[in-house]
Structures are given as structure tokens and as C-alpha cells.
Amino acid sequence: MLTFLARRIVTGAVMVFAISVLTFTLLYSTGGNAARRILGDFASEEAVALRTQELGLDRSLPEQYFDWLTSALTGDLGSSWFRAVQVNEELGRRLTATLSLVAVSLLFSVIIAMFVGVLAAVRRGTWIDRVIQTTSLGAAAIPGFLWAIALVMLFALNLRWFPATGFVRPTDSIGGWIHSITLPVIALVIGGVASSAQQIRGAMINVVNQDYVRTLRSRGLSPRSVIFKHSLRNAAGPGLAVIALQFVGMLGGAVIVENLFNIPGLGSLSANASIQGDVPILMGIVVIIAIIVVVVNLLLDIAQGWLNPKVRVS
């Protein structure tokens, strides 16, 4: 188990490093033009050259990357090219909104998808199964932002139950926070449940058809034990893999949902930074998200190993 963990941590670190190298190469390859973009078309050549030098963009790419990496390791991700803000402070501010949105959505979608998926598997072939299958197929096919827009039109503009835009920090008011993230969470949960319920159903059916389930039944155990203790336990591994995929998908979905609902998270920050060409901010976002994904995957790997005796007991 320990070697397994150590290997995963090293793999994760290498992954983040590789992503940072690739992203840095992509983002900083335009070098000289950056200062012109920042200063505008009317700035003099001298000013542009000076700015290029100030930003260190006149140096070679490996040199720049080494600089970025050494400061990044001390927690300094540089400062924005367009605003007087430190990247790590800005990211820190934005991270709470995104993470709270994604964590709550993931939690709900996992619980609902598990319930619905297991229900469909257990009641296979009944009308419940058919309803679940058809709805999740349809819900997964339609892009998430269409659900978000539909939710805004119905619950915010017509019924006025929830605000259409804005975000209240949980530290300011818990009630306000819940109120402000309800619609965005629903928008993310619809897609999340739709895409994972099918897979959980499949994983469950796969287990139920295993030989050992028949043998367990041959011992006269209650269906409750056979399904909810033995089958569910064995389907949990594939289920966790579904959650891992789901998490990455939701981070991507959050970019659009944050913009539609005007939530000051990483998603809306990255859209703005992308339009402006605020490279340090984008670089920071990619690396932070890569780290989050790696950490979440590591946690899921640990859970996976803990669930699987073959990994745990060795």
C-alpha cells in the first residue's frame, strides 16, 4: 500500500510538472508580442522593448521557465500583466467559489447517480429502469449550458425563486450562499448524474451477473445483503473511476456555468484572462487545476486501493 501510494504521488508530481512545461511553452512562445498587446498599438517601440525587458520576455524560454518554476515552488506565481494583482492571491480568492460549486455539485451528482444507477440495475427491465435510462440519455445529450440557460429562464426570470447571477460567499452568509449556488449546482448536477448513472448501472449489472453472486444467493442470504453489501461493495471500484472522470468534467463545465451565472470563480477568471491575453493568470489557473485534479485522483486512488483487497493486503 505504501509503495503504491509513493508511486502515485511521484506520478502525480511528474504529471503536474509536464503540464506546466507544456503550458508554459504554449503560453510564452509568443514572447515579444505580449508587451505590444499590453501597452496597445500607440505605445512607442522603446516602451514596448522596455516592457518586454521588465517582464523578462526577452530571455530564452528555458530561462523564463526556470524562473517561473523556482518562484512557483515558493508559492509565487507572478503578477497579472494587466492588473496590479498577484496571481496566487487572485487565484486564492477565486478558488473558493469554484471549489465550493464543484464540490457541492459532485457530492450531489454522486449521491443521486449512485441511487438512480443502482435502482435501475436492481429493477432492470421495469418501467423505472426504462424511465431512468431514457431520461439520463436525453439529459446527457443536451449540452450543460442549455440546461443552465433553461434554469435561468424558468427559476430566475419567470418564477424569481433564485437570483439569475451573483455569488454570496459562504463566510458572509450560509443562506445567501446556498441561494446563490442552487441554480448553478443544479445545472452541473443534471449533466453529472446523466452521464454517470448509466455507468454505475452498468457496473452494478456487471457485478450482479458474476458467479459469486449466484453462489451467495445459493446460501440463502437476503437479497438486501447480496445487493447492498456484496454487489455494491464490488461495484464501488468502477464507481470511483466514474467519479474521477466526473470531477474533471465538472471543472470544465464550471467554466461555462460560472460565466452564465456571473460567479467570480476560476472559470470566469480564465475566460477574461483568455480574452485579454493575461498569460501569468492563465498559467496559474492551468497549474492550479492540474494540481487539484492530481490530488483528487490521488485521493480516489487511495480509496480505490482501500476498497480493493488485492492492493490493500500486500
Binding site: R124, A141, P143, F145, S218, R219, G220, L221, S225, V248
Partner: protein
């Protein structure tokens, strides 16, 4: 090589027979044609603003679907926009499928360093949400939709790569690929002739889903305001509409409808395609339920007759199967009968062999007796009388009070019949705690005792072990221990030695004989081996194609058998070379089988056993 020329309908024919696929394809074709031809016929310029027609309702000023806030014709923009949206998504799909398939084929077929490298690259591409990478890329390349979709295609290629790689892995070592290699075809010929054929279907299905994702992400970029302002697309229309959602929410309608329709149709088409390519015509769960309802109705009618004509069971009779028919629901809702009305009795303490080759229905008979048939299978008629109760009609709840405590089951393949997630000890204790309502401590003591009884030398260790930590022979001992844990009257053993090594086979047979002698349990022994029959069974029934063709007591059967099939089974036994010593009652020493050099067919053992049996029969007579 093994081309399925006579396989009934091809995947394409099956697809065109699926009504859902027909509807979906028609919609896609109509919309596709409209998008290709429509712009040529349209009288409006999609980009021309006309403030006089701003927000014109449907049908006004010739605007069939109305006009947007700048007075531009919505229908024209939908058709022009569709062209860009779909071409953009197609670009992403082509890039993804091109890169993914090529790299997946190479990695899967040749492996080595390329496999490691590309696999890591794929993990890298999937580690960060595609949307975030696109936003970062856009800051460098500008708002070009084509570049963005091409980059998105590269990100998507990781998924295609994994799909192709795993598909290639699964066929790489198939016999026909080996045969092609041996016959001297070059690797590339094999890839194009054989491997690509297998990969084609799954990739096509995935392309359908990728197309949908491409459409969605393309619109998503527009909604974020990052699209190309000079290009008309569905996402751009949505973005415009969302900006005016308070003034003119109706503008959301048409681009949403188009996008949703396309995405839905692509998903449904990919699903139909999957079903069509699958081809294995599995019976749908809904059909199974329908068939089962019909069967239950018939069984209920039959039950009335049986209630008036109870079976007079002998005092020693445990199980009495009469005119049992078993069938499976076919995809078209009909029933395929596999067991055609068999009779079988097992008496208290008796060992009855049910012998036949694979597919003869012997295992299905055993499952039917315990009501453990696989999904879709059911008892069609006849009765399975157990101590006066007809098991073919009792409720599932009642059945589970009989399973384990009265009738227990020993499976064929030991390793796949233990739950991998629970310790052996737990799996032994659970039924005892459930049925016998004993404390955990007591259950533990009994479980350890059972492990000792099945001659496991280190019961404490095995108790704590997980199934993957023990050998196949050990696992089979555990399964035998589990089967006798609640002191059943009958064991149904489904070829309990077939999956084991030959040396272990003999040990397990000895163990079964010992358990039988100690507990006096009746055994229904399903087997394809007359050696085992001779070794253990008092009586034997020969089964062929779902019918019992001959039966009798073992000794008589070995001397005279009439049915040609029985003769065939006998001739399958090799000639005995040496006679093994008969089984002696245990005296603490390891079983003799473990020490002796054991044959492959168990025939000597069979003959030896037969001899003792004849002797003992003679003695008792």
C-alpha cells in the same frame, strides 16, 4: 480468415431495421440537407442588419422564424451558422479520430516504448479540463474557431487512443491474428486487414459522441464570448440571445432547438449503432419480464392440477423432480426450451450422478432445482418437490430459507465463486449468522472448525485471507466448507473438480466422499466424467440435449448400458492401467490421493471404487 460470411444480417442491415435509428437518421439527413442547400436558396443575407425588422415575430416581413435584435433573418442565420458549427465539430472529430486511431493502433499492436509514451501523453491530455486548455490556447492563437476546434480534437484524441488501444489489445492475441502472423502476413497487412476491421465499429460509435461534444464545446466557447465575432454559428446566436435574455428571451429558442436536436440525434444514433454492431442479440430485460409473466400464469394454472395430484414421496426421498422443463426467453419474446421434461430423484444420504457433455442441460437442471437460473431462464412446467413443497412455485422469500440450510450448492470454478472483497472468514460466517442466528464469536468458532473439517492445515490464516490469497484447490475446500456450514440435507455439486489441477481433483473428491460419509448428506453430482460417477455415485442419470436418456444404479450401468450416447461417454474413458487402492477412512493422515501419482482420467480410481462398491453391495445383500 474467420470471416463471418454466413452471419445472418450485417450491422448495417440491423441498424436499418431499428425504427429509432431510421427516425434519427432521417432527421439528421433532413437537417443536414437544409444546412447545405438552405443558404443557397435563402433570400436574406445572414449578416445584413435591418433595424426595421428588429425582433420581428415569426412570419413577419418574410422572416419565417422571425428576426433577431438587429433585424437579421433567424432562419438564414440558423442555416449558415449550422454549417460552421457542424464543420467545426467535424474538424475536431477528424483530428481526434485521426490521431487517436493511428496512435492507438501502433501502441496497441506494437507496444514497446511507443505504448508507454503515448499512454502517458494521453493521461496528460486528460488531466486538465479541455475547456481550460482551450481558453489558454485562445489567448495565444486568437479567436479562430478552426484552430480552437483542431486543438480540441487533439485533446479529444486521448479518448479515441485509449479505446483503440484496448480494442487492439483484446484482438492482438486472437487465434486468427496469430494465424495470419504465422502464415507470413506483414504486420501492416494484418493491421489493415484484421485489426482495423475490429476497431472500426467502436471508433464510429465514439465519433458520434465526440461530434456531440464538439458541437457543445464550440457553442460553449461562443457563449463565453471567446468566439470569432465575424463568424455566424449556433453558439454565437445563443451568445447574442443570452445577452438580451431580459429583452427578447424568444431568441434563445431556435439555436437551442437546433443544437439540442443535433446532439440528441447523434447520441441516439451512436446508441443504435452500438446495438447494431453488438449483434449478439441479447434478450432485453423488458422482454424477459414479459415472458416471465406469461410463464408464471401458466405455472399457476399447472399448480392447481398438481395440488390435486400430490406426489407420494417415499420416506427417504428428498428431492423429486418431475417432468421439469426449463427455457430461456429469446430476443423475439419466444421461449427456447433447453430441458424437455426430465424426472430425477435423490434420496436421503444418496449420491446421484447427473452426467452429460457440456450443453446437455445438466448444470441448468441443477440451477433450476435451486431456482438460481441465469437472467431470462425459468422453469416452464413440471415440479421440483422438496420435502413435500413444490419449489417451482414457492415465493423467493421462502426459497431463500431453503437455500443454504436445506439445499446447498458447490460451484464449478472456485476462484470466481468467492466474493473478492470479503475475507473467507466473513463469507463463511455470514450465512451461519443469518440462518442459525448465532453470535459472531460462535460463528467464528464454527467457521474455523469447518475449515479444519475440509482439511485446511492453517485455518486461522485462511479465515483471515481474501480469496485472491489462496489457491484454487484451497478455494474449493472453502466453498465445500461453506456449503455444509448450515447442515443441509442435499448438496448440489456442479462439476466441483473440473476447474482444478489433476492432483487437486483427487483430493477434492476424497474430501467430498469424506464429508458425505460424515454428515450423511445427499449429493446431486453434476459431472461429465464417468470416473467421478464410479467414484462417488450410487445412481446415475445420463443426460443428452436436455433429456435423460438412461438411468440406473452405478454398478449396473457400468456393466450394461444400452443407449448409444451412454456407450459413447463410456468409450471416452481411457483404459485403466493400474488399480488404485480403495478409499480408507481417515486416520489423521493426509489423503492417499495426495501422495499417490494420480492419473488424468480418474479411471483407476473409478474402477477401484467400483470394486469396493460391488463388494460392499454383495456383502450387504
Amino acid at each position: 480468415m474467420s470471416k463471418q460470411n454466413n452471419a445472418p444480417p450485417t450491422a448495417l442491415k440491423r441498424l436499418l431495421r431499428d425504427p429509432q435509428a431510421i427516425v434519427v437518421i432521417s432527421i439528421l439527413v433532413i437537417l443536414g440537407l437544409a444546412i447545405i442547400i438552405g443558404p443557397l436558396l435563402s433570400q436574406f443575407d445572414p449578416a445584413r442588419t435591418d433595424l426595421g425588422s428588429a425582433l420581428a415575430p415569426m412570419g413577419e416581413n418574410g422572416h419565417i422564424l422571425g428576426a433577431d435584435s438587429a433585424g437579421r433573418d433567424i432562419l438564414t442565420r440558423l442555416l449558415f451558422g449550422g454549417r460552421n458549427s457542424i464543420l467545426g465539430a467535424l474538424l475536431a472529430v477528424s483530428v481526434a479520430v485521426g490521431i487517436g486511431t493511428t496512435s492507438g493502433l501502433i501502441a496497441g499492436y506494437f507496444g514497446k516504448w511507443f505504448d508507454t509514451l503515448s499512454n502517458n501523453a494521453a493521461s496528460l491530455l486528460q488531466a486538465v479540463p479541455g475547456m481550460v486548455i482551450l481558453l489558454a490556447a485562445r489567448s495565444v492563437i486568437g479567436p479562430s474557431m478552426w484552430w480552437m476546434m483542431a486543438i480540441f480534437g487533439v485533446l479529444l484524441s486521448a479518448g479515441t487512443f485509449r479505446l483503440v488501444r484496448s480494442t487492439v489489445h483484446s484482438v492482438r492475441n486472437e487465434l486468427y491474428v496469430d494465424a495470419a502472423r504465422v502464415s507470413g502476413l506483414t504486420d501492416w497487412r494484418i493491421i489493415f486487414k484484421h485489426v482495423l476491421r475490429v476497431v472500426r465499429g467502436p471508433v464510429l460509435i465514439q465519433a458520434g459522441f465526440l461530434m456531440m461534444i464538439g458541437l457543445a464545446i464550440q457553442a460553449g466557447i461562443e457563449i463565453l464570448g471567446l468566439g470569432d465575432p465575424g463568424m455566424i454559428s449556433w453558439g454565437g446566436m445563443l451568445s447574442d440571445a443570452f445577452a438580451r435574455i431580459l429583452v427578447a428571451p424568444q431568441l434563445m429558442l431556435w439555436p437551442s432547438v437546433m443544437l439540442a436536436t443535433f446532439c440528441l440525434c447523434l447520441t441516439l444514433l451512436a446508441n443504435s449503432l452500438r446495438d447494431a454492431l453488438d449483434g449478439t442479440q441479447r434478450t432485453s430485460p423488458a422482454t424477459i419480464r414479459k415472458v416471465n409473466r406469461e410463464i408464471r400464469a401458466e405455472m399457476a394454472a399447472e399448480a392447481a392440477f398438481y395440488a390435486d395430484n400430490p406426489i407420494m414421496m417415499g420416506e427417504d426421498e428428498l428431492l423429486h423432480i418431475e417432468a421439469l422443463k426449463v427455457g430461456y426467453a429469446a430476443p423475439d419474446g419466444s421461449i427456447t426450451e433447453i430441458i424437455h421434461g426430465i424426472d430425477l430423484q435423490v434420496n436421503r444420504g444418496e449420491v446421484v450422478g447427473l452426467i452429460g457433455e457440456s450443453g446437455s442441460g445438466k448444470t441448468q437442471t441443477a440451477f433450476a432445482a435451486m431456482r438460481l437460473l441465469s437472467e431470462g431462464g425459468s422453469i416452464l412446467s413440471g415440479r421440483v418437490v422438496w420435502k413435500g413443497r413444490d419449489l417451482s412455485t414457492v415465493s423467493e422469500a421462502e426459497m431463500s430459507t431453503i437455500r443454504g440450510t436445506e439445499i446447498a450448492y458447490i460451484p464449478q470454478e472456485p476462484m470466481s465463486n468467492l466474493d473478492p472483497s470479503f475475507t473467507i472468514g466473513y463469507q463463511l460466517m455470514e450465512p451461519m449468522r443469518h440462518h442459525l442466528r448465532i453470535s459472531k464469536k460462535e460463528a467464528r468458532a464454527r467457521a474455523l472448525d469447518l475449515l479444519r473439517r475440509v482439511e485446511i492445515t492453517d485455518p486461522e490464516r485462511v479465515f483471515k485471507s481474501y480469496p485472491h490469497q489462496v489457491s484454487g484447490g484451497m478455494a474449493q475446500r472453502v466453498l465445500i466448507a461453506a456449503s455444509i456450514s448450515c447442515e443441509p440435507d442435499l448438496l448440489i455439486a456442479d462439476e466441483p473438480t473440473t476447474a482444478l489441477d489433476v492432483t487437486v481433483q483427487a483430493e477434492i473428491l476424497d474430501l467430498l466422499r469424506k464429508v458425505q460419509a460424515e454428515t450423511g448428506v445427499g449429493i446431486l453430482m453434476v459431472t461429465h466424467n464417468f470416473g467421478i460417477v464410479a467414484d462417488l455415485c450410487d445412481r446415475v442419470a445420463v443426460m443428452q440435449l436436455g433429456e435423460i436418456v438412461e438411468r440406473g444404479d452405478t454398478v449396473t450401468m457400468f456393466k450394461t448400458h444400452d443407449h448409444p450416447y451412454t456407450k459413447q461417454l463410456f468409450s471416452a474413458i481411457l483404459d485403466p492401467e493400474e488399480i488404485r487402492e480403495p478409499y480408507v477412512a481417515p486416520s489423521g493422515a493426509p489423503s492417499p490421493a495426495a501422495a499417490s501419482l494420480v492419473d488424468t482420467s480418474l479411471v483407476e480410481e473409478a474402477e477401484g471404487r467400483l470394486e469396493t462398491k460391488t463388494v460392499s453391495k454383495g456383502a450387504s445383500a
